[in-house]
C-alpha cells in the first residue's frame, strides 16, 4: 500500500485544496500536505532494501484484465531517488511560490499536487498502460501551470510544450499497443501490459536493417523520451516553456519532469530493446554530445537569464543522455546521479531567478549589473548554486558530471574529449552571466530601485532563505557523501548492466545468487 499511498495522497490533497473554503490559508495547507507527502516518502525510503535489485513494495491488481493491463507499481533503486527528488522538491516549490502565485491559488496548488501524482506514478508504474496514463496525465497540470500563471507568451509556450510532448508520446502509445499484442508469445496466449512480460519478450532484431520490429519500437519509445528530456534537436520547446512558466513551473519542469524522460530511457528503452540500444546507442550519444556543446554555446549568448538556464538544462541533460547510453557502471550511475543534481541545482537556479524577478520584474541580463552589493545573501546563494551547476568539486554536480565523463571515456575517448568541453563552456556561460548580473557597476535595474523607495531591493527574506536552505544542504551533502545516495541505486544499476541483454527484475532467490557471485 505504501506506493499507492505515496502516489495517490497528492490527489486527495488536491481535492482538499480545491474545496478548501479559506483562501488565506490555502498555501499553508498545501505546504503542510507536501511535507506530509515528503515524510511518507521518507518512510518508504526507510523500508526500502538497498541491497536488492529486485522490484520492491510491489502492488499488482488486475485492472483491465481483457488486455492484461494491471495496476502494477513497484520501486527499485533506479526509481527510488527520483521519487525522493519529487517529494523533496514539492514543499520547496510551494514555499518558493508563496508570493509569486497570487491568483487562483487553489487551482495552482491542486494542479501541483496532481502533477506530483502524475510524476510519481510515472516513476513507479510497472505496467505500460498505467505508466502511459501517468505520463500523459503529467502534461495536463503542467499545461495549466504554464498557461495560466505564466508570462506574456505563455499560451504559445504551453501549447508548444503540450504538442511536442504529446507528439512524441503517441508513437510510444502505439509501440506499447504493439508490444501488448506481442506478449501472448511469452504469457501463454494472454495479452499483458506488464513491464515484466515486456522484458521477457524477445523482439526480433536484425542488425543493419532499420525496419525491424525492435528498431522501430526502440525509436518509437526513444522519441517520446527524447522529446521529454529534451534531447537535441528536439529541445526547442524547453526554452520557451521555461521562460514563460512561472517559477514553480520551471522548477518542476527542470527538476522532475525532464527526469521522467531520462529515467524512462533507463527503465524502458535500454532493457526492452538491448540490441537496438547497442546498435543505435551511438545516435543518442552523439545527440547528447551535441546537446552538451550546443546547449552550452547557445546558453552563452542568451539575453534572458531564464532562457540561459533553460539552455543550460539542454546541456546538462545531454550529459545524462550520454551517461545512460554508455551503458557502463560509471555512465549509468553518473547519469542517474546527475538527474538528481540537475533537479536540485537547476531547480535552485530557477527559484533564485524567480526571486529576483519578483523584485525587479525583469530577466534581461543587460539590465542587471551590480546586484551583488545590493543583495549580498542572494548573491552568495546564487554563486553557490552556480558552482553546483558548473560542477565544482564538493558540490553534487561534480560527482555526476565526472562519472558521466568517465563512463563516456570508457565508451569512447573521443566522446569524452568532446563532452569535456562542456566543463569549460559551462563555466563560461554561467560565470559570464554571474558577472553581468551580479558584478560590475550598478545596472539599470539596481539604479532604478535605488531611486524608487517603494521598489527598493530587499535581500532574501527568511522564507526565501528557508526555501534555499535544503537545496544548499543537498548540494553539499550530495557532493561530499555521494555514497549516501548512490548506495540505494548501485545494486539495481549493476544488475541492469550485468543483465542488460536479457534484463528482468531479479526475484529474491536470484538476487541472493548474484550476490554470492
Amino acid at each position: 500500500m505504501m506506493l499507492s499511498l505515496l502516489v495517490f495522497l497528492p490527489v486527495f490533497f488536491a481535492l482538499v485544496v480545491a474545496i478548501w473554503p479559506q483562501k488565506s490559508t490555502v498555501r499553508h495547507l498545501a505546504l503542510g500536505f507536501s511535507i506530509i507527502e515528503f515524510l511518507v516518502s521518507l518512510l518508504m525510503l526507510q523500508k526500502f532494501d538497498s541491497n536488492s535489485a529486485a522490484l520492491q513494495m510491489v502492488e499488482k491488481v488486475s485492472w483491465i484484465d481483457r488486455f492484461g493491463i494491471s495496476y502494477f507499481m513497484g520501486i527499485d533503486g533506479i526509481s527510488l531517488m527520483l521519487v525522493m527528488l519529487t517529494t523533496f522538491l514539492t514543499p520547496i516549490i510551494i514555499l518558493g511560490s508563496w508570493k509569486s502565485i497570487d491568483q487562483r491559488v487553489k487551482g495552482f496548488h491542486s494542479a501541483l499536487f496532481i502533477l506530483q501524482t502524475a510524476m510519481l506514478g510515472s516513476f513507479l508504474a510497472m505496467d505500460a498502460i498505467l505508466f502511459y496514463v501517468f505520463w500523459e496525465l503529467s502534461l495536463v497540470p503542467m499545461y495549466f501551470i504554464v498557461g495560466i500563471w505564466g508570462g506574456s507568451r505563455r499560451i504559445y509556450a504551453t501549447v508548444k510544450f503540450f504538442i511536442y510532448t504529446m507528439a512524441g508520446s503517441v508513437l510510444m502509445l502505439l509501440a506499447i499497443i504493439f508490444m501488448m499484442n506481442l506478449t501472448p508469445e511469452v504469457t501463454g496466449g494472454v495479452m499483458s501490459a506488464s513491464l515484466l512480460d515486456f522484458y521477457k519478450l524477445e523482439i526480433p532484431f536484425i542488425s543493419g536493417d532499420f525496419f525491424t520490429t525492435q528498431t522501430m519500437l526502440f525509436f518509437a519509445f526513444a522519441l517520446a523520451f527524447a522529446i521529454k528530456v529534451p534531447m537535441f534537436p528536439l529541445h526547442t520547446w524547453l526554452p520557451d516553456a521555461h521562460v514563460e512558466a512561472p517559477t514553480p513551473g520551471s522548477v518542476v519542469l527542470a527538476g522532475v519532469m525532464l527526469k521522467m524522460g531520462t529515467y524512462c530511457f533507463l527503465r524502458w528503452v535500454i532493457p526492452l530493446f538491448p540490441e537496438a540500444t547497442e546498435h543505435y546507442g551511438w545516435i543518442f550519444i552523439a545527440a547528447g554530445v551535441i546537446g552538451i556543446v550546443y546547449g552550452a554555446l547557445v546558453a552563452m549568448v542568451q539575453p534572458d537569464v531564464k532562457k540561459l538556464v533553460a539552455y543550460s538544462s539542454v546541456s546538462h541533460m545531454g550529459y545524462i543522455i550520454v551517461g545512460l547510453f554508455t551503458m557502463n557502471a560509471y555512465g549509468l550511475n553518473g547519469g542517474l546521479y546527475q538527474m538528481l543534481n540537475h533537479g536540485i541545482s537547476t531547480g535552485a537556479l530557477f527559484l533564485l531567478i524567480g526571486m529576483i524577478y519578483e523584485r525587479t520584474h525583469s530577466r534581461e541580463i543587460s539590465k542587471y549589473g551590480g546586484l551583488a552589493s545590493a543583495l549580498p545573501i542572494f548573491t552568495i546563494i546564487f554563486v553557490i548554486v552556480t558552482m553546483s551547476s558548473i560542477a565544482v568539486p564538493l558540490t553534487n554536480g561534480f560527482i555526476g558530471e565526472f562519472l558521466i565523463l568517465l563512463g563516456s571515456f570508457q565508451y569512447s575517448p573521443a566522446v569524452a574529449a568532446v563532452s569535456v568541453s562542456g566543463v569549460v563552456l559551462g563555466a563560461a556561460y554561467m560565470l559570464w552571466m554571474v558577472k553581468r548580473v551580479f558584478f560590475g557597476p550598478k545596472g539599470q535595474l539596481v539604479l532604478e530601485s535605488e531611486k524608487d523607495a517603494h521598489h527598493a531591493l530587499h535581500d532574501l527574506s527568511a522564507r526565501e532563505i528557508v526555501v534555499m536552505a535544503p537545496l544548499l544542504l543537498m548540494i553539499f551533502w550530495m557532493g561530499l557523501f555521494p555514497n549516501h545516495f548512490m548506495d540505494y541505486s548501485k545494486v539495481s544499476v549493476d544488475y541492469l548492466i550485468k543483465n542488460k541483454m536479457n534484463y528482468s527484475f531479479p526475484t529474491g532467490a536470484e538476487q541472493a545468487h548474484t550476490e554470492e557471485k
Partner: protein, 490 residues
C-alpha cells in the same frame, strides 16, 4: 421467408422499447392537443419524454439483456450490439432532450412537437440498430432522418437552421436513394435483402467479381458512410451541425451517429466479407482521409460548434478504423466491442461538450466563437473543468475515457495488423490535441466574461457534470465495462 409468419408475445416484448418510445412520444403532443394547442409546462413535457426513454431503456435491458434474441422471424436482432448501442442512443438522447428543454433555440412554442420528433427519431434509430433486413434498415434510417430534418428546421428564428435542414434533407435523400439502389442490386444478385442470408454467399460473389453485387454492396456501404460522415461523404456534416440548434446537433452527433455506426458495423462485421480486400482497403483509405480531413479542418475553425462538427468527422474516422478491424478477420468480438466502446466514449464526451455550448448560447441567433469562451473558467469553474475533461477526453488523454476508447480501438487495429491505420490515428490525435486545447486556452488563460446564459440551466448542468464524472469514472473502470460489452457481443 416462406415459412409461416408467426408473431408471438416474445416479438412484442422484444420491440417493447420501441413501442414505449412511440407511445411516450405521443404523450406531450396529445396533452398539447387536449389543452387546445397550448404548450403545457415544458418541464412536464421533458419529464414525460425522459420517463419514456427510461422505460424504453429498461425494457431494452430486461428483454434483450440476455442477447441473441431475434424478433419477427429474424428481421430484428436484439443482440449485444442492439442492446449497447440502443442504450447509448437512448441515454445520450436523454441528455439531448434535457438540453432542448433549456436551450433558447428549442425551448419555444413547439417543444412538444420537438419531443415527438426526437423520440420518433430515436425509434427509427432503434429500428436501424436492430434491423437485419436491408429494407428494415432503410425504414429505420428514413424514420430517423425524416424526424431529424424537421427537428433541425424547427428553430424558428434561425435562417441557417432552415438552410441546414434543406441541405441535410437533399443530401440525405440523395444518399438514401443511392443506398436503396444498392439494396435493389443486392436483391437482384442474391435474391434476398436479409443481411444474414446474403452474407452466406457474399464471399463467393465478391470473389467472382459479380458486378451487380459489388455495385450494390458498394452503394450500401457508401450510404452508411454518408450517414456517419466519412469523407468524402462528410461535406454535409459541418454545415448541418452548425446550422442546427445545438441540442439537435448534439443528438445528431451522438445518438444518431452511434445508431448509424451500429448498422454499419452489423453489415461490415458479418463474417461474409473477410477476404474482400479491396473493400477494406478502400475503407481504410476513407478512414485515413476522414481522420485527416476532420482534424485539419477543425484546426482552423473559429466557430466552436463547427470545430466540434469537424472533430466529430475525425472521430468517425477513428471509429471506422475499429469497424474495419472488426471486419477483416474472424477474430472474436474484439474489434466490434472496441467500436461500441468508442461510440459510448465519443457520445458521452461530445454530448458534454455540446451541452456546455448549449448553456453558453444566449439566444437562438447566438454563434459561439471559440474566442468567446474567454473568462469562462473564472465565471463557471466547475463547468469549465467539465469542459476541460470533455476536451481532453476527446483529445485522447488519459485517464479520461477517451484515451481508453482510443486504446482499445487502436489495439484492435494493431491486433488485426492494421498498424498503419493505428499510426495514422495516433498522429491525428496529436492534430486533434491542438484544437481541443484551444478552447481550454481561451477559457482559462484569456480574460473575458463568458458565462452561461442567464436563464436557468440547472438540468443541463446536471447532465454535464454527470457526463464528466462518468468520463473520469468509467475511464478508471473501463476494463469491466469493456468486458461486459465484449461478452454480450461475442
Amino acid at each position: 421467408m416462406n415459412s409461416a409468419i408467426t408473431i408471438g408475445l416474445s416479438d412484442i416484448l422484444l420491440i417493447s422499447p420501441m413501442i414505449a418510445l412511440f407511445v411516450f412520444s405521443l404523450i406531450p403532443l396529445t396533452i398539447k392537443v387536449l389543452r387546445g394547442n397550448r404548450e403545457q409546462n415544458p418541464a412536464a413535457s421533458m419529464i414525460e419524454a425522459l420517463i419514456g426513454l427510461a422505460l424504453s431503456a429498461a425494457l431494452l435491458i430486461v428483454f434483450s439483456g440476455n442477447g441473441g434474441a431475434t424478433a419477427f422471424n429474424g428481421q430484428l436482432a436484439f443482440d449485444g450490439l442492439t442492446l449497447w448501442i440502443g442504450l447509448i442512443s437512448i441515454i445520450i438522447g436523454g441528455g439531448a432532450i434535457v438540453m432542448m428543454y433549456e436551450n433558447p433555440a428549442t425551448r419555444g412554442a413547439q417543444f412538444s412537437e420537438l419531443l415527438f420528433l426526437t423520440l420518433n427519431s430515436l425509434l427509427g434509430a432503434l429500428i436501424l440498430i436492430s434491423a437485419v433486413n436491408l429494407i428494415t434498415v432503410f425504414i429505420g434510417l428514413e424514420l430517423m432522418s425524416l424526424s431529424l430534418y424537421l427537428m433541425i428546421a424547427m428553430s424558428h428564428e434561425q435562417k441557417i437552421s432552415k438552410e441546414a435542414a434543406i441541405k441535410y434533407f437533399v443530401l440525405g435523400s440523395f444518399a438514401s436513394a443511392i443506398f436503396l439502389y444498392g439494396v435493389s442490386f443486392i436483391y437482384g444478385s442474391t435474391g434476398t435483402v436479409s443481411t444474414l442470408d446474403l452474407m452466406k454467399n457474399a464471399e463467393l460473389l465478391l470473389k467472382n467479381g459479380n458486378h451487380l453485387f459489388l455495385f450494390g454492396f458498394a452503394f450500401i456501404v457508401l450510404g452508411f458512410c454518408f450517414k456517419v460522415s466519412i469523407a468524402p461523404f462528410h461535406a454535409w456534416t459541418p454545415d448541418v451541425y452548425q446550422g442546427a440548434p445545438t441540442p439537435v446537433t448534439s443528438f445528431m452527433a451522438t445518438s444518431i451517429k452511434a445508431a448509424s455506426f451500429a448498422a454499419f458495423l452489423r453489415i461490415i462485421a458479418s463474417k461474409g466479407l473477410i477476404g474482400s480486400d479491396n473493400l477494406f482497403l478502400i475503407l481504410q483509405w476513407f478512414a485515413v482521409i476522414t481522420m485527416t480531413v476532420g482534424n485539419v479542418a477543425a484546426l482552423i475553425q473559429n466557430n466552436f460548434k463547427r470545430t466540434l462538427a469537424y472533430s466529430s468527422i475525425a472521430h468517425s474516422g477513428y471509429v471506422l478504423v475499429g469497424v474495419i478491424a472488426s471486419g477483416v478477420s474472424e477474430n472474436s468480438a474484439y474489434g466490434a466491442s472496441s467500436v461500441v466502446f468508442y461510440l459510448l466514449t465519443y457520445s458521452l464526451m461530445t454530448m458534454g461538450a455540446f451541452a456546455i455550448l448549449s448553456m453558453i448560447e444566449k439566444d437562438e441567433n447566438n454563434f459561439v466563437q471559440t474566442d468567446d469562451l474567454a473568462g469562462f473558467a473564472k465565471n463557471r469553474p466547475v463547468l469549465a473543468l467539465c469542459m476541460t475533461v470533455f476536451l481532453l477526453s476527446l483529445a485522447g488523454l488519459p485517464p479520461a475515457l477517451g484515451f481508453f476508447g482510443k486504446l482499445y480501438l487502436f489495439s484492435a487495429a494493431v491486433n488485426e495488423g492494421l498498424l498503419w491505420l493505428a499510426l495514422w490515428g495516433v498522429i491525428n490525435s496529436v492534430l486533434g490535441a491542438y484544437y481541443y486545447l484551444r478552447p481550454i486556452v481561451v477559457m482559462y488563460m484569456k480574460d473575458g466574461d463568458c458565462n452561461t446564459s442567464p436563464q436557468s440551466n440547472y438540468a443541463t448542468a446536471v447532465v454535464v457534470v454527470i457526463s464528466a464524472l462518468l468520463i473520469i469514472g468509467l475511464g478508471v473502470a473501463s476494463g469491466p465495462l469493456f468486458n461486459m460489452i465484449e461478452k454480450s457481443l461475442g
